[in-house]
């Protein structure tokens, strides 16, 4: 089913998608090699705690010791963004993974069986969708206490209804296809029909949406951290780094960009991470669903 020649052909026609794959691959490499390229100082137990040099609130510009400079509280920016890549992947993949699972299960049940089960599940998703996403996430984090795990749970709570709906819609479309009826005619059980016939044919748009969403999830996680509702202080997390830079976005009069490195560098990491996943989602779409692809 994986036709590499076809994939390469599509990539050649859409170089932008190729960029997406490359960007995500680079980030993945950074995340994997974090202990190598940004080694944890000896004696520190938790690798995710950003090492500090002193406690001065004034950020220091890039130097040999601190390649990207330091931010408020003398946290090393370089270490922070490198290990932040790891947290970003952790958040993105964990949230999207769980949401996919939840959404597929609930969406398939709702879409396949219809009737009252469908109604109940849909009303539940309505309730969740009625809340503005960020507010609901904040409420959940506030209730559970700020930490990266609460951020994860909050984002799962907020994202799953959209996926359940999407899966349900796809199932409704596929449910009436001839081959599903043929499977019923053969005597297949409901479970078999859903797993072997309906899902494999409807799942690709969901995967595409999922890859696009990873970027959005990481962005939301960063937003929550920026608001102080995320990981504890000093944790290697891009949102945290932006939060540290809050007071230093504009420097003293005469040197407004004096502390550019505090906000720009984490910002650029976030930007390219989200961009990479968006483009990757496009690439998936081109490969997996030729009907939607640009010709």
């Amino acid at each position: 089913m994986i036709d590499f020649k076809f994939i390469w052909y599509q990539m050649r026609r859409n170089p932008v998608s190729l960029a997406g794959i490359v960007i995500v691959a680079i980030f993945a490499l950074v995340a994997i090699l974090a202990p190598v390229i940004a080694p944890t100082p000896a004696g520190q137990r938790d690798a995710y705690l950003i090492p500090r040099e002193g406690y001065s609130p004034v950020p220091q510009p890039p130097s040999w010791a601190h390649k990207f400079g330091t931010t408020q509280g003398q946290y090393d920016i370089y270490y922070g963004v490198i290990w932040g890549t790891r947290s970003a992947f952790k958040v993105g993949l964990a949230v999207i993974g769980s949401v996919l699972l939840l959404g597929i299960i609930l969406g398939s049940i709702a879409g396949y069986f219809g009737g009252i089960i469908d109604e109940i599940i849909m009303r539940v998703t309505d309730v969740f969708l009625a809340f503005p996403a960020l507010i609901l996430a904040m409420a959940v984090v506030a209730a559970l206490g700020p930490s990266l795990n609460s951020v994860l749970i909050a984002l799962i709570v907020v994202s799953w209804p959209a996926y359940a709906r999407l899966v349900r819609g796809d199932i409704l479309a596929i449910r009436e296809e001839d081959y599903v009826e043929a499977a019923r005619g053969v005597g297949a059980s409901h479970f078999r029909i859903i797993t072997r016939h309906i899902l494999p044919n409807s799942i690709y748009p969901v995967f595409i949406m999922a890859s696009l969403d990873i970027g959005a999830v990481v962005l939301s996680a960063a937003a929550l951290s920026f608001l102080g509702l995320g990981s504890p202080e000093g944790y290697a997390d891009w949102g945290q780094m932006i939060q540290f830079s809050r007071n230093w976005i504009v420097g003293p009069p005469g040197h407004p960009l004096a502390y550019w490195y505090t906000v720009t560098i984490p910002g650029l990491f976030i930007l390219f991470f989200v961009l990479g996943w968006n483009l990757l989602g496009d690439a998936f779409r081109d490969i997996l669903d030729p009907k939607l692809a640009k010709r």
């Binding site: 001839d178 081959y179 043929a182 005619g185 053969v186 078999r192 016939h197 044919n201």
Partner: protein, 349 residues
């Protein structure tokens, strides 16, 4: 001769739900009181235009759809059928009726029992482009019935699949490929192979060649002929093409708006139709011979909606021979000359 498949008073109605609370406001009477008997190894054709209910009838017989009322029998002994029939009309004997029905009447089956019956009857769909799961290999598609019924798995199943594929004119190499790599005719062969996997007795074909080219159609019909002879199958062949039905079917039933209007051998239907609708169908079917200028009966108007069929004889608004009687009373399908059955107050000579 005992019939393999028998259908009595079969009705399949689809309720029309209207209003805020989805109240039933009428029904689409797709199949309305059908009686049909198909003998063993008979090739029965079911002919009609779109909307007449033939597909619904086929799918109801093999229980892909739930009948609203009526009886379906597959290989049931004729005395049981007769007993059920008489008990239906009598006042008592409800328990006996229920027991008999539970044993023989497919219309009452559900769940596990239906699954058991599915081994014996299968359906081949109309459109070979949508009836195969595009993400499954051919081998898996054809082996699925075997896996579902727990007949065989793994290597044994693969061997059986190879045998069946050979039977339908494909080869072993096709097993590992996907449907989109095949042409329409080949895909239809795969669908037929899938239907044959569990060694059924009865196969319903829902317009199997209408999506295919003429030459491919001829190939498929040839294949069906051979298969029927070799595997001793019984066919219900649904089509809107009377020419095809005439050349391959033993007998033909003509449907209009949920009812069978005429039934007889292929020759009788084509050369001496009794029902005006049958005659119109026969004369409307084009023949590849520019020299025969047929007396065309152009039927006026359109087929009425099955949710709101006309009173009396359903065909009367379009019939040139309609009288008051036709408008008020519905003719019953009766055996007139021997095995010929038709439902008309003023049949043709």
């Amino acid at each position: 001769m005992e019939a393999l498949v028998e259908v009595r008073h079969l009705k399949t109605h689809f309720p029309i739900l209207k209003g805020l609370f989805r109240r039933p406001a009428g029904a689409v009477r797709a199949v309305d009181d059908i009686n049909l008997a198909i003998r063993r190894e008979q090739w029965m054709g079911l002919v009609g235009e779109s909307g007449c209910g033939k597909t619904t009838l086929g799918k109801t017989i093999i229980r892909l759809l739930r009948p609203t009322s009526g009886h379906i029998y597959l290989g049931a002994p004729s005395d049981a059928i007769a007993e059920i029939e008489s008990l239906e009309h009598s006042r008592d004997g409800h328990h006996r009726l229920k027991a008999l029905r539970r044993e023989h009447d497919l219309a009452t089956f559900s769940g596990k029992r239906i699954k058991g019956v599915r081994r014996r009857m299968q359906l081949v769909h109309q459109d070979p482009y949508t009836s195969l799961n595009p993400r499954m290999k051919i081998r898996d598609i054809v082996a699925e019935p075997l896996a579902v019924h727990g007949i065989m798995r793994g290597k044994q199943a693969s061997e059986r699949v190879a045998n069946i594929l050979r039977l339908v004119g494909l080869s072993e190499q096709h097993m590992a490929r996907y449907p989109h790599q095949f042409s329409g005719g080949q895909r239809q062969r795969v669908a037929i192979a899938r239907a044959l996997a569990t060694n059924p007795e009865f196969i319903v074909f829902d317009e199997p060649t209408s999506a295919l080219d003429v030459s491919v159609q001829a190939q498929i019909l040839d294949l069906l002929k051979h298969l029927k002879a070799e595997e001793h199958l019984t066919y219900l062949y649904i089509t809107h093409n009377l020419s095809v039905a005439e050349t391959v079917c033993d007998s033909i039933a003509v449907m209009y708006l949920g009812k069978i209007v005429e039934m007889g051998t292929a020759l009788e239907i084509f050369h001496s139709p009794r029902h005006p609708y049958t005659q119109a169908l026969v004369l409307s079917t084009p023949i590849p011979d520019p020299k025969t200028k047929r007396v065309r009966i152009i039927l006026p108007g359109e087929v009425p909606s099955p949710a709101n069929p006309p009173t009396g004889c359903r065909f009367h608004p379009r019939c040139s021979r309609a009288t008051e009687e036709c408008r008020s009373t519905e003719p019953t399908l009766e055996a007139k000359e021997g095995s010929r059955l038709f439902a008309c107050w003023h049949p043709l000579e």
